[in-house]
């Protein structure tokens, strides 16, 4: 009996877990801790809890808008009207999202807000191409030209190969010939800022 105990003790002493096994157990322990950590209520402030709930609310709104965007596709509207339209048809409030992103004016074009707008467009999964077209429509609206829908109807192509997006781009190309140099310059700057937002998100793309 004593010899058996000595044998068992020596086996235990000599057993060395391989590194992969230790890591697998640690990862599982961490994940388990994750679900059942001992968190004292006083460690969690009310403001933090509220921030988490706001974050989840923003995610829900964005996900709702994304799904509607996938459903409706491109619609030739300014960016503000498009996003507001998505919110209205899905009956969600944009306010939490705008607050989250620090957007005070969805139709605003100061350089500070453009990046936030681009971020919002990206989060709703509007492609960079479509975002730029929406912004071009916004500019055309500001320039006091005919509404884009009227311009598209006026141009109506008989070539069924052209998508609405392509038609819209072609119409805007014509319209923008009338822009003054400052407006063109402004738009180029805005366009560069939008591209930088989309580029930075590509670099950080997730494997999930």
């Amino acid at each position: 009996m004593r010899r058996k105990k000595e044998y068992q003790a020596s086996q235990i002493e000599t057993y060395q877990e391989p590194e992969w096994f230790t890591e697998a157990l640690r990862a599982t322990r961490d994940a388990a801790y994750f679900v059942n950590p001992v968190i004292e209520p006083e460690q969690i402030s009310l403001s933090f809890r509220e921030r988490c709930r706001k974050a989840a609310e923003v995610a829900l709104i964005l996900e709702t808008l994304r799904r509607e965007r996938r459903r409706v596709g491109f619609v030739p509207l300014s960016l503000a009207n498009y996003i507001e339209g998505l919110a209205k048809v899905t009956n969600v409030s944009l306010t939490p999202v705008l607050l989250w992103l620090g957007i005070t004016d969805l139709a605003g074009f100061d350089h500070g807000s453009v990046k936030a707008l681009a971020r919002l467009a990206k989060d709703i999964e509007i492609s960079i191409r479509e975002t730029l077209v929406h912004l071009r429509i916004s500019f055309a609206d500001r320039f006091g030209l005919a509404p884009i829908s009227m311009l598209l109807a006026h141009r109506r192509s008989t070539d069924a190969r052209h998508s609405q997006l392509e038609e819209c781009e072609a119409a805007l190309d014509q319209v923008e010939l009338e822009f003054d140099p400052k407006t063109k310059r402004d738009f180029r700057q805005i366009s560069a800022e939008v591209r930088s937002v989309y580029k930075s998100s590509e670099e950080g793309s997730s494997l999930f």
């Binding site: 105990k5 068992q8 086996q11 235990i12 057993y15 877990e17 391989p18 992969w20 096994f21 890591e23 697998a24 157990l25 640690r26 990862a27 599982t28 322990r29 961490d30 994940a31 388990a32 801790y33 994750f34 679900v35 059942n36 950590p37 968190i39 460690q43 969690i44 933090f48 809890r49 921030r51 988490c52 709930r53 974050a55 989840a56 609310e57 923003v58 995610a59 829900l60 964005l62 996900e63 709702t64 799904r67 989250w100 989060d123 950080g204 997730s206 494997l207 999930f208």
Partner: protein, 193 residues
């Protein structure tokens, strides 16, 4: 938890709130344990709430427990990204962060965690309890486990040892673990050349 994931995919408002309530504090606690300040831990936790919730459609429920494993894998990834942006700061705990950074597919973590959980489930009830208490939970001492199970500490030690060996051999047969081990062997061979 799988049910929570399904409800989130269905855009259930209450599910999103529950997700924030359940995981916000856990994310914060996780990041605190890994050396972030309280303020940074909270900021990163809040950011993770949105990021993970926005990825919910990408989650595929394959096995029990995989939702938590999926979330856990994402936040480890977020933590690595966070540290990368702070080159002047050194992580308080290594915790295998270098391993994570070197992995080319973080989804492996989900498979590993699920493999371990499935392997543990194949042990006897007592051995499962010992492994949970000693290795997968609060890492109790043998004396504490002995008291909980009403057996001698010496017996706990022996049973723990045998359970670990059994667990190891079950895992060695798991296809995901096998794949990982083969890749590791190949990498080690390449590095030694």
């Amino acid at each position: 938890m799988e049910e929570l994931a399904k409800r989130m995919v269905a855009l259930d408002q209450e599910a999103y709130r529950e997700f924030a309530d359940i995981f916000g504090p856990r994310f914060r606690s996780f990041f605190l344990k890994r050396g972030l300040t309280a303020s940074d831990a909270e900021d990163l936790a809040v950011s993770c709430i949105t990021d993970i919730a926005l990825k919910i459609e990408k989650y595929k429920s394959e096995k029990k427990g995989s939702f938590v494993a999926w979330i856990y894998t994402i936040i480890r990834h977020e933590l690595v990204n966070w540290w990368r942006k702070k080159p002047d700061e050194v992580p308080l705990t290594n915790d295998g962060l270098l391993n994570i950074a070197q992995e080319d597919d973080p989804r492996q973590n989900i498979d590993i965690i699920c493999a371990v959980e499935n392997a543990v489930a194949k042990l006897s009830d007592t051995d499962q309890t010992i492994i949970q208490l000693r290795d997968l939970g609060a890492q109790h001492s043998y004396a504490e486990i002995a008291e909980l199970l009403d057996i001698k500490p010496g017996n706990v030690r022996v049973r723990h040892h045998r359970a670990l060996q059994r667990l190891q051999s079950i895992l060695e047969e798991d296809p995901h673990i096998r794949k990982l081990l083969n890749r590791k062997e190949n990498n080690d061979r390449r590095e030694s050349k």
